[in-house]
């Protein structure tokens, strides 16, 4: 093991304790299912449409706003915070809250007028049909003469 002397940092017992504490918390914390982004998305691509599913539990569907322009989908929304009433104390607080905003680039242009979305059991499903103009066309080759 190579130790590098760093003259600018003296050994600091408080920092050491802090590090130790962080290590200990890591041991006791169980693996959580938490994506780095909220809401997490899954994209299912078909020939004629793209289906996006997103886990956004515990929201009012009226608080979600979807906008489509060309091949870009924007999901905007709010996950309301729990209003702490008087006499309530928190034991654990792992569920996030607040505003969320995401922009996704789709594999092709979609028809904004035909986009459908539904929200069931905390999962948002968005069906984005491919724009007619964007669909691949078969061109038959005719022999000349």
């Amino acid at each position: 093991m190579i130790t590098i002397e760093r003259p600018f940092f003296r050994w600091d017992p408080w920092r050491e304790m802090d590090r130790l504490q962080r290590e200990m918390t890591g041991v006791f914390n169980l693996p959580r299912r938490r994506a780095a982004v909220f809401p997490p998305l899954n994209i299912h691509t078909g020939d004629d449409d793209v289906i996006i599913t997103s886990e956004i539990p515990g929201i009012d569907p009226a608080d979600v706003e979807l906008t489509v322009t060309g091949d870009t989908l924007t999901i905007k929304g709010l996950r309301k915070e729990h209003e702490t009433k008087e006499g309530e104390t928190w034991h654990r607080r792992e569920r996030g809250s607040g505003n969320f905003y995401r922009t996704v680039q789709l594999p092709y242009n979609v028809d904004g007028n035909k986009v459908q979305a539904d929200y069931v059991n905390g999962v948002l499903k968005i069906v984005l049909p491919r724009a007619e103009a964007d669909k691949p066309r078969k061109i038959s080759v005719t022999s000349g003469k």
């Binding site: 914390n29 693996p31 997490p40 899954n42 994209i43 599913t53 309530e88 654990r92 059991n121 905390g122």
Partner: protein
């Protein structure tokens, strides 16, 4: 210190049940909020994809277990091209410190969030004792 012993307890409960599963499915630890007031203990757990039929809440001794199954999401003639979350079952167990009136536990699922209300047993509720002068 009390905090650490508590989380140790819940970890034990966790391991016991996760060890053996016949179904080959991923199991996720749902994120929870736990609150308490004078009368009840409230648990909120994020379980997207689960509904009232698939959620199972049980209390054995003082271990509260929440479980749920969620349906696989796949569409005909569609390939999954990008994933940020996995779909699976949910499992989490807690050791309750409080004595709970088990007959009055209420659980409800709405929009993928499980909400459990655990009323505290009469015996452990805080009581104010009037002080007489004399």
């Amino acid at each position: 210190m009390a905090e650490i012993s508590k989380s140790l307890k819940s970890e034990k409960a966790q391991e016991a049940a996760v060890a053996e599963r016949t179904k080959d499915r991923r199991i996720y630890n749902p994120a929870v909020d736990i609150l308490e007031d004078a009368d009840n203990l409230y648990i909120y757990a994020d379980m997207p994809g689960a509904d009232d039929k698939s959620v199972n809440v049980s209390l054995e001794n003082d271990v509260l277990t929440i479980e749920a199954q969620s349906q696989d999401v796949s569409f005909d003639k569609h390939d999954v091209t990008y994933t940020e979350y996995g779909v699976g079952d949910y499992y989490r167990a807690f050791t309750l410190n409080e004595t709970v009136d088990r007959d009055k536990i209420e659980a409800r699922v709405k929009n993928g969030v499980l909400n459990i209300v655990l009323p505290k047993a009469e015996a452990v509720k805080p009581r104010s004792i009037p002080i007489k002068v004399g």
